[in-house]
Every structure is written in structure tokens, then in C-alpha cells.
């Protein structure tokens, strides 16, 4: 009979009218994010970081801008780690490529901002800068012996100051390690 389907449909909507609702009052109730959730700001384990810049090189969009200094002991340190969130695809490649597994998300999904400038997020904290200062001073107090200019190393200085983001240096085959 024509109209039977209409009545059935009305029964369904009436059932839901009195039934349980599926939505949440968002700012008050927040859904928990799973452990693998990709999103938010990057967090770096600064004390472990060796400033190898692999994260920046792995990024398909050049969203990570690094500034690196070399201390008196010829160890590299990051002075600035800017995450351009407006360019970020949250693809996780930086985190997977991190040599020391020291990079992860803070899993905060409330990262919207009013201005575009707010998307240039500085990952390093004041504590990290303090730590950098201490390390630099400690290294300056105990400098490494100067390099014997035996090997001029033609290709190396050319690459070191200007890290090209997309050109990986090493060419040997290594197993891709999922970071778990």
C-alpha cells in the first residue's frame, strides 16, 4: 500500500525523538584521543636531540624550519625549531624519520588560531633554551681540539650549512622502523 513506507519512516524518527542522542556538548565534554592520534603541536625531547635535521628533510611540505648551532665541542644543537602548522599535513613523516624517536605530538586538537602568525609555532620551550645555554657554556669551557686540516672534505662543508630539505644524505639501505 502506498504510504506504508512513509509510516515506517515516521516510526523511526519518532523512536529517535525519544531515544538517546549521539552528540556531545563539546567544550564541556571532550572525547579522549587514542594513543596514536596525530595532531596538535610537536613536542621535542630536546636533551636527546642531535640536531640531525632528518625531520625537516622528511617533511614533504617544508613545514619545519630549523636553526642549528655548533658548539665548541663541535656538537650540533637546535636554537630554533619552528613548526609551520599552516603547511603541515600531519602526515607523521617527521616523527617516523626521527633518528632518536624524540619527537611526538602533544595530541591537543584545539590548535586553531586567529592569525596566520600563530601558526608558526616555536617548539622549543624556555627550559630547552636554558639547557642550550648551559650546554654551550659547558662546551665553551672545555673546547674540543681543533681539527687537523688533513682532509679538506670538499663536499661536506657545502652541505652542512645549508641543509636542503629534500635531499637525503645517506644512501645506504636501512630498514624502515615504525616508531613504536
Amino acid at each position: 500500500m502506498f504510504g506504508k513506507g512513509l509510516i515506517t519512516g515516521m516510526r523511526v524518527t519518532l523512536k529517535h525523538f525519544f531515544g538517546k542522542k549521539e552528540t556531545f556538548c563539546y567544550p564541556e565534554e571532550k572525547l579522549p584521543m587514542p594513543e596514536r592520534f596525530r595532531g596538535g603541536h610537536l613536542v621535542i625531547d630536546y636533551k636527546k636531540c642531535i640536531a640531525c635535521q632528518l625531520c625537516s628533510m622528511a617533511c614533504p611540505n617544508q613545514a619545519i624550519e630549523l636553526k642549528v648551532v655548533t658548539d665548541a665541542q663541535r656538537k650540533r644543537h637546535l636554537t630554533s625549531y619552528i613548526h609551520h602548522m599552516g603547511r603541515c599535513m600531519f602526515c607523521d613523516l617527521c616523527i617516523e624519520n626521527c633518528a632518536i624517536h624524540g619527537l611526538h605530538w602533544d595530541q591537543n586538537y584545539e590548535i586553531s588560531a586567529y592569525t596566520r602568525d600563530a601558526f608558526d609555532y616555536e617548539v622549543l620551550t624556555d627550559d630547552d633554551r636554558q639547557y642550550l645555554k648551559e650546554v654551550m657554556e659547558a662546551a665553551a669551557a672545555n673546547p674540543a681540539p681543533p681539527i687537523v686540516p688533513k682532509k679538506p672534505a670538499a663536499p661536506k662543508p657545502a652541505e652542512a650549512p645549508k641543509p636542503e630539505p629534500k635531499k637525503p644524505e645517506e644512501n645506504k639501505e636501512t630498514e624502515v622502523k615504525p616508531n613504536e
Binding site: K4, G9, V12, E22, R38, A58, M89, K172
Partner: protein
């Protein structure tokens, strides 16, 4: 003497029912459509070129942005093409996981189809119900790969991470739920007389026309041609599973709807079989850190949710592809729009857009 004139109506690019930024130029005589001309390019991002300027591994997240409702299927297609090019053997467990997530994504995409067709026909409640159930799949994906839309889960050589036992458990629970919500859609949409009368016999397309327009996916299956790459090519581990290719009879919108509706059940069947037979082992092949496929070219096709998704990649032996071309099913299917609209009313044109199920991210690429 007053005469009548035809007139042109621009539907879109900003229009509530054009699925993004599709623009259709309708030539109208009163309410009757004389011709429909899709105009594309409002969402062009140059993904093919972007892929050419990135390494193979870096290219995978860009394929998420093609058909953003079924990103897993795009990742799958691209990774298969790269693997074929580089000769990478994918472990069995990875193949199973890929099939599971790809089919779950197919269900999610078809749910979006049902919902968007419902809202285009004015039944906004039906749309909310499908999106409610799609949410369960998105939560599953969030659990397994940490994203709800642009997954970047299937990688060259396998999958990003192994599935957790929690994911498997929850997927089984979701599969239990599939017949329940499908029954509800049947009550509110499929069995509804108004819904039926809006779709039956509208936008009819013969087998020959569909073939001549090179349509693929549910759109060609609705005309009665059982063309499904999963069966035709039997790629990945699909030949191991028992599933049917759903076909229609008349090639009208009703069949297009029903094909997708029933494909959800078939996909659920595949997911269940894959979960039951999920083998142990590695989930990632040994892929060189810097991938340099040998010189050559490859065309690899998979069954995307909207049809035959093909990736043509030319390698010059460097780390980046020399040329990438994507055969986007939505784009090709759009060719049928004129035939589906001509001779029908404005109201039917909206149903026709929905029934083709184009996704502008994929049409414009």
C-alpha cells in the same frame, strides 16, 4: 506574440548540492533540462605535479587529498603502483590489513553517498543517520592510524603500524552493527515511497552509453555490467575472499543507489573474512630508506570507491617520479552527467549529481 526562450542556469560553484565546488551549466526550458555541462577546476591543486616534485614516500600523504572521503583506497592505489615499479614484495599480513581498512573505507564512503543523496532529495535526517554510523568507522581509523580523514596509513611496502587487538575487536563489533543501521536506512529511505519515486526510472543510462563514457565503479555496475577490478584483476588478496559483484538492471538512479547500498554488505563480508584469516607476520616489507625505483613505467589500477582508480608512474631512476598521472574515476564518470540530466527536471539534476557521486578533490585533482 510572446515566445518562450531557453535560459542558462549556473548551478555552483557555490551551491548547496553540488558536492563541493562543482559548477554545472544547465540549459533549461522552464524546468526541463536541455543540456548539462559540468565545469571543473575550482579545486585544482596540481596533485600530479606535487607528486612529481616529492619522493615516492613523501607523495603518499598527497593521495589522501584526492578522494578525501576514501583516502585509504587512494593510498592503496598509489602504494601498489610504487611497489610494482620498485618490485617490492608486500607481506601477507600487510595485504590483509590493507584490504580491511580499504573495505571499511569503502563502507564509510558509500555511507556518505547515501547521506548526500538523501539530503539532496531533502531528507536531511537520513544524512545525519549515515554520518552517525560513519563516525564509528572514523573512530576505528583514528584508533589504528591516528587520523580521521587523511589517513596516510597504507605506506609503500605495507602499512604504517600494526593493528591493535582493540581495533580488531572493535571492528568485529562494528560488523555486527552493519545490518542494524542498514535496516534503519531501509526504513527511512529505501522503503520510502517518495524516495523511490524520486529515483526510479530517472537518469537512465544504457550499457552502451555507460561504456562509451568510460564510466566505472558503481555507476557502470548499475547498468548491469559486472565490472569490478577486485574481481577482474584480482589484485592484492581479494581473490581469497568470497564476495559478489553487485549489479543493477536498468541503470537508473535507483539502481545506482541500490548497488552502493548492497556493496556495503559485500564490503562487510570481505572485512569479516579478512579479519578471520588475518595471518601473523611482519606488516611492513623491507623498503630502502631512499627509494630509487629502476627506470620504467607502470600503470596500476585498483577499485576505488568511485570506480577504477589508476596510477601511471614513470620513473627515471631517481628518487622522484618523472611523471605521475592519475586516472580519477570521479572525473571520468562526470562525462555521463549530460546524458543523465538531459530530458529530466531540475530536481532530477540534483539527484543525478549525487548518483554519480563525484568528489571534487578527485575531479579536479
Amino acid at each position: 506574440m510572446a515566445g518562450t526562450e531557453t535560459y542558462t542556469l549556473n548551478m555552483g560553484p557555490q551551491h548547496p548540492s553540488t558536492h563541493g565546488v562543482l559548477r554545472v551549466q544547465l540549459e533549461l526550458d522552464g524546468e526541463n533540462i536541455l543540456s548539462a555541462k559540468p565545469i571543473m577546476g575550482y579545486l585544482h591543486r596540481g596533485i600530479e605535479k606535487l607528486l612529481e616534485s616529492r619522493t615516492y614516500v613523501q607523495g603518499v600523504p598527497y593521495t589522501d587529498r584526492l578522494d578525501y572521503v576514501s583516502s585509504m583506497n587512494n593510498n592503496f592505489g598509489f602504494c601498489r603502483a610504487v611497489e610494482e615499479l620498485a618490485g617490492i614484495e608486500v607481506p601477507e599480513r600487510a595485504e590483509y590489513i590493507r584490504v580491511i581498512v580499504a573495505e571499511l573505507n569503502r563502507i564509510a564512503s558509500h555511507l556518505v553517498f547515501i547521506g548526500s543523496l538523501a539530503i539532496d532529495l531533502g531528507a536531511s535526517t537520513g544524512m545525519l543517520y549515515t554520518f552517525r554510523d560513519r563516525e564509528e568507522i572514523l573512530d576505528l581509523f583514528n584508533l589504528v592510524c591516528g587520523a580521521r580523514m587523511t589517513f596516510h596509513y597504507i605506506r609503500v611496502g605495507g602499512v604504517n603500524r600494526d593493528v591493535q587487538p582493540e581495533f580488531i575487536e572493535k571492528t568485529y563489533k562494528f560488523l555486527e552493527h552493519v545490518p542494524v543501521f542498514m535496516e534503519e536506512y531501509k526504513k527511512i529511505l529505501l522503503g520510502n515511497e517518495i524516495f523511490m519515486s524520486r529515483l526510479k526510472g530517472i537518469s537512465k543510462m544504457s550499457k552502451e552509453t555507460a561504456l562509451s563514457h568510460n564510466m566505472t565503479g558503481p555507476n557502470i555496475r548499475a547498468t548491469g555490467i559486472p565490472y569490478d577490478i577486485r574481481k577482474v584483476d584480482g589484485y592484492s588478496v581479494y581473490p581469497r575472499f568470497d564476495f559478489n559483484v553487485v549489479t543493477g538492471k536498468n541503470g537508473d538512479n535507483w539502481d545506482r543507489f541500490n548497488v552502493r547500498y548492497n556493496e556495503i554488505f559485500e564490503s562487510a563480508k570481505i572485512v569479516r573474512q579478512a579479519l578471520d584469516g588475518l595471518p601473523e607476520g611482519p606488516f611492513m616489507a623491507k623498503v630502502p630508506k631512499v627509494l630509487r625505483p629502476p627506470k620504467g613505467e607502470v600503470f596500476s589500477r585498483t577499485e576505488g570507491t568511485r570506480g577504477e582508480l589508476g596510477f601511471y608512474i614513470v620513473s627515471d631512476g631517481s628518487t622522484k617520479p618523472y611523471r605521475v598521472h592519475i586516472r580519477r574515476p570521479s572525473f571520468v564518470n562526470m562525462q555521463g552527467l549530460n546524458d543523465m540530466c538531459r530530458g529530466y527536471l531540475i530536481g532530477d539534476s540534483v539527484a543525478a549529481f549525487s548518483a554519480i557521486d563525484p568528489l571534487m578533490g578527485e575531479v579536479d585533482c
